[in-house]
């Protein structure tokens, strides 16, 4: 079966041959299929974030192959990497990474600025997403005026604006209370039902024990410890 994403023996070394050299990943090989919900589980420093960023085309491995939708992205020039990242992936960051002094709608529209799509179409898409997520009425407020839960939804809307195939979420529940965390997982579950593939890095048991997770990949010290398929 052709995987949506797979990696072959990828290694990532930060600051090679320097005193502060760090080997974040060692010979990691994983497969992610279309429609799966994959949880990367492991303690802090296990390499989850690094693996997420590499499969999300945010950086390049030191060695190994990463294939996304049949394309080897490990050695692609930056322009192509960005294009794939933009069209294939939507990111939900741990700290949301929203621009606090910018309005909700402008934050959501940010990924579409460098894309060749006209302004009315952009705004229509954004409005629909915000309405679906229940924060349409706050579209013109600045992000800093929103609650934590509302900001989370803005982050999700921004992740979805490019109609990505894969949602990547890095510790999405780290700064949320139980209720908000549950709400987030419900949204992700809905997105999965709509056909999106989801990859979540987390050490929150609420997430990796959730029934909608189809595969759990355990990591420790930059290596894969085990893969549990449900």
């Amino acid at each position: 079966m052709e995987h949506l994403i797979h990696t072959e023996e990828i290694t990532k070394i930060y600051n090679p041959r320097k005193p502060d050299e760090m080997r974040a990943l060692e010979g990691v090989s994983i497969q992610i299929n279309r429609g799966e919900v994959v949880a990367l589980k492991g303690p802090s420093g296990s390499g989850k974030t690094t693996l997420l960023s590499l499969i999300g085309c945010m950086g390049r491995p030191t060695s190994g192959r990463i294939v996304v939708e049949g394309r080897d992205v490990a050695k692609l020039p930056e322009r192509f990497l960005t294009a794939i990242r933009r069209s294939t992936f939507g990111f939900i960051f741990q700290q949301f990474n929203l621009l606090r002094d910018v309005s909700v709608i402008d934050n959501v529209l940010l990924p579409l600025y460098p894309v060749d799509i006209d302004v009315p179409a952009m705004q229509q898409r954004a409005d629909r997403l915000l309405d679906t997520l229940g924060i349409g009425a706050k579209r013109h407020l600045k992000v800093k005026q929103l609650s934590g839960g509302e900001q989370q939804r803005v982050a999700i809307a921004r992740a979805l604006i490019n109609k990505p195939t894969v949602i990547i979420a890095d510790e999405p529940t780290a700064h949320l209370d139980r209720q908000l965390a549950t709400d987030l997982l419900a949204i992700l579950e809905q997105l999965n039902r709509e056909g999106k593939t989801i990859v979540i890095a987390t050490h929150d048991p609420l997430v990796h024990e959730h029934p909608f997770i189809t595969k759990t990949i355990g990591m420790r010290n930059g290596r894969i410890e085990g893969v549990v398929q449900r």
């Binding site: 690094t50 590499l54 930056e78 621009l99 402008d106 990924p111 600025y113 460098p114």
Partner: protein, 385 residues
């Protein structure tokens, strides 16, 4: 095209988000450009003015030198000059300076022959008798006199002499006549106590302008104690005087340019943590390096182009509608009589283009360069914050 417009839109939003800081930069930048452009416009216009007005100055002026200083010239030297081939006419000029203790100002006193035809720019008439004079508007203003009044000045015997003012030069000729007092030649010679056989210098007319340098050289040969000054030199004096690359103009110009460079350097030496974070986020969500650099380009270009054009307009209005009033104290020096003049508007577009290059390009560079490092960094660092 759509993409570029959207990135421009984001750049403008970015500028508006930091509106007070950017407004301050806009004001400083505009003022600096205004100062720089004012100097360029003023000096260019004055140069043009001088070059047009002095086209009818004498072809040659011959001065006598004694002990390295300007001395009175024997009138018979004019006869010797007229004998040189190519010379049409050599006429002695009688003129000098008068320090008016009452107003602490200096006048230029000029002697003319009686019976000279009237001039268009004289309101009234030129003096035709020894007891008459014509004056420039500066003299009229500082002494509060006009046509029909008396101008009393002290001659070389320390005696006050009253002259009836028969005419004043019109304000249009201020640049040429502001401090002039015109007397009849004979009266001027009496006033200054000049010997009858001496003149201040000799004005020479030639048949063919192209022969002026040759004739000047011949004059030096025939009359070794003289110094001829050509019309070309006269005009080029003002090219040099109004050259923005010299004297006080250069000081002001460089100060303004240095202030501008400090502004640009301050920008170029680093971007704030907030800006770095913003670039990281943009990269993470799908902007590539060229998009970020284009964004920074538009941020720089929007501010600098707006300021540059605004500064140039302000400079034009300042110089040609307000007579460069901000620069006047610098240019005026210690002159008590300094003419109010309206310069003929004239811009050298080459200079403006050069100034544009010297300011807009470095400013845009100073906006792009510090963001370069952040723009080329892999966005995965954003995941780690």
């Amino acid at each position: 095209m759509r993409r570029h417009i959207k990135i421009l839109e984001y750049a403008l939003s970015s500028l508006v988000r930091r509106k007070y800081k950017n407004l301050a930069i806009l004001l400083v930048y505009t003022f600096t450009i205004m100062l720089l452009a004012s100097i360029l416009f003023l000096t260019h216009a004055l140069k043009q003015e001088a070059s047009f007005l002095l086209l009818d100055a004498p072809d040659l002026v011959v001065q006598k030198m004694a002990a390295g200083r300007h001395d009175l010239i024997p009138v018979q030297y004019a006869r010797a000059v007229e004998k040189i081939r190519g010379v049409k006419k050599a006429s002695p000029r009688h003129w000098g300076y008068y320090y008016d203790a009452l107003t602490r100002s200096n006048y230029t006193v000029l002697g003319i022959d009686t019976g000279m035809p009237g001039l268009h720019l004289v309101e009234g008439s030129l003096p035709s008798d020894k007891g008459q004079c014509a004056i420039g508007t500066g003299v009229a203003a500082v002494r509060s006199v006009g046509v029909g009044d008396e101008l009393i000045i002290v001659d070389s015997h320390n005696t006050g002499t009253a002259y009836e003012i028969t005419g004043t030069f019109s304000a249009q000729s201020n640049l040429l006549t502001y401090d002039l007092v015109v007397l009849t030649r004979g009266e001027l010679m009496r006033f200054f106590g000049l010997p009858a056989d001496r003149a201040t210098d000799i004005a020479v007319e030639v048949h063919n302008e192209r022969e002026v340098p040759t004739i000047a050289a011949k004059i030096r040969q025939v009359l070794p104690d003289t110094r001829p000054i050509t019309k070309n030199e006269i005009i080029r004096t003002y090219d040099a005087v109004f050259n923005w690359r010299s004297g006080m103009m250069l000081v002001i110009f460089s100060s303004a340019l240095i202030a501008f460079c400090i502004l640009a350097w301050d920008k170029a030496t680093g971007i704030s943590a907030e800006e770095k974070r913003e670039i990281g986020i943009l990269k993470a969500i799908g902007w590539d390096t060229s998009d970020i650099l284009e964004l920074k380009f538009w941020e720089g270009a929007a501010l600098s182009l707006t300021s540059f054009l605004l500064g140039s307009i302000a400079a034009y209005v300042h110089v040609f509608f307000f007579s460069a009033s901000l620069l006047a104290p610098v240019i005026k020096g210690w002159s008590v009589l300094f003419p109010e003049f309206r310069l003929t508007p004239s811009i050298d577009f080459y200079q403006i283009t050069v100034m544009g290059f010297l300011t807009v390009v470095p400013y845009i560079a100073s906006t792009i360069v510090p963001s370069w490092k952040a723009a080329i960094t892999d966005p995965e660092s954003v995941m780690r914050t």
